[in-house]
């Protein structure tokens, strides 16, 4: 493909917006802010992705799925670059991503990661998390860790729903 026939980058971003996260399929890799950059370099499409957690087993699956999705759209030369810095933060989850998480039953991050110093976090009370089912904030944390490193387990005291909270990082 020469530069005149390249699909443009906004088209590519919208295609990537259909690639689901393997562990939370309700949101795409674009919604989560995992794709950091997309650009053409001499006929090759370079997609920079960042891991959410350093041990997240989904990261290599995500790379494979992005490549497969782009190939299916006819892009033959794709290179996936892993980028560590700046480290991924839940602040990069898009507003649509947050809405999709909540509709899926996962409470989105309640705080801005770039806010208060993390070292002081255990000195203050954790923020109130709204139940994704009944919206009550009368909830409590069952465990800081859930089914994946990015989530914590909560339970609603009003409707009793146990739910995942996408924790702030």
């Amino acid at each position: 493909m020469d530069s005149l026939t390249h699909p443009d980058l906004s088209q590519i971003r919208s295609w990537l917006g259909e690639v689901p996260d393997p562990e939370v399929p309700a949101v795409s890799v674009m919604d989560l802010g995992i794709v950091r950059e997309v650009q053409w370099e001499e006929g090759e499409l370079v997609v920079a992705i960042t891991p959410t957690y350093s041990g997240c087993p989904a990261t290599s699956v995500i790379a494979i799925e992005i490549e497969a999705a782009l190939r299916a759209k006819g892009i033959e030369r794709v290179r996936i670059e892993r980028r560590l810095s700046p480290p991924w933060t839940t602040d990069w989850i898009t507003p649509e991503g947050r809405q999709k998480l909540e509709a899926y039953g996962i409470a989105p991050p309640a705080e801005i990661a770039g806010g208060p110093s993390p070292f002081e976090r255990f000195l203050r009370k954790p923020p109130a998390i709204a139940c994704p089912r009944c919206k009550s904030v009368n909830t409590h944390r069952v465990s800081e860790f859930g089914s994946t490193p990015c989530k914590a387990q909560y339970q609603c005291r009003d409707c009793l729903e146990p739910f995942d909270y996408f924790k702030c990082i």
Partner: protein
């Protein structure tokens, strides 16, 4: 020792600490006292193994002999491991696991915070990434020290015993040797001794709240950073390395 060799050694220490503790925690998988704890311990182990991969891959790159994280993890003998003795201590009961974790997390947190400002951008970015994860580890292990210390008579007794037993392994965390001094000189890493005061401050405040007493300063067990380990490391490696030793270059 050249600067490059010192950096390689230093990176092995960072990677091996995460690897050995990650492996220890993974031993709880399927055995923890509650499902939530099983998940939490496995998740912390996963974070540590992920960090191991980053540190050991960088170590291999610095060494320049074609070894990657897998080769370094699976094909070195105990004498070539550079982890501190604290992380290889057996899991014991849940109090021992959480006391070990709290001592480590508090130190690890402070160390990574300094390393995030390292002059070497590769070190700084791994540290900044890991720091976010370790903040959660510290929050959780500190919480367990409080809950068990200020819990029932039995949980208090067990937590105090765990602290007393593990205390002698904490001295090594703050002792500088020639490798630490080389890192300090080059602006790559902090002076380990400078981490002691904030570490002790956090430990004291936590113990006070948990109604636990701080052990008396005593003899410190050391050697892990130089490859002199307790008998426990060999058993860990026998488990960890079995597959690569029995079936060299096996992949899946």
């Amino acid at each position: 020792m050249s600067d490059q060799e010192a950096l390689f050694e230093y990176l092995l220490r960072l990677g091996d600490n995460a690897l050995v503790l990650g492996h220890r925690l993974s031993e709880w998988c399927g055995h923890a006292p509650a499902l939530e704890e099983d998940l939490a311990l496995s998740n912390v182990a996963l974070d540590l193994i992920g960090q191991t991969q980053l540190w050991l891959n960088l170590a291999g790159e610095v060494e320049g002999k074609g070894r990657d994280a897998d080769k370094l993890a699976y094909l070195r003998d105990a004498r070539d491991f550079r982890n501190i003795l604290l992380v290889e201590q057996p899991n014991g009961d849940f109090a021992v696991t959480m006391a070990r974790q709290f001592f480590f997390d508090a130190w690890h947190y402070l160390l990574l915070r300094e390393l995030a400002g390292s002059k070497d951008g590769r070190i700084a970015e791994i540290a900044a990434k890991s720091l976010k994860e370790v903040t959660y580890h510290l929050e959780r292990s500190r919480d367990w020290v409080l809950r068990l210390g200020d819990g029932t008579e039995e949980s208090h007794r067990r937590m105090q015993a765990a602290i007393d037993d593990l205390w002698m392994y904490t001295g090594e965390l703050f002792e500088a040797d020639e490798i630490d001094r080389a890192m300090l000189r080059e602006g790559l890493g902090p002076d380990p001794a400078a981490l002691h005061e904030p570490w002790l401050g956090l430990v004291k405040a936590t113990f006070e709240e948990a109604t636990l007493s701080l052990p008396q300063p005593g003899w410190a067990q050391r050697g892990g950073k130089r490859g002199i380990h307790s008998e426990h490391l060999g058993y860990i490696l026998a488990d960890l390395q079995f597959l690569q030793r029995a079936y060299p270059n096996a992949t899946w």
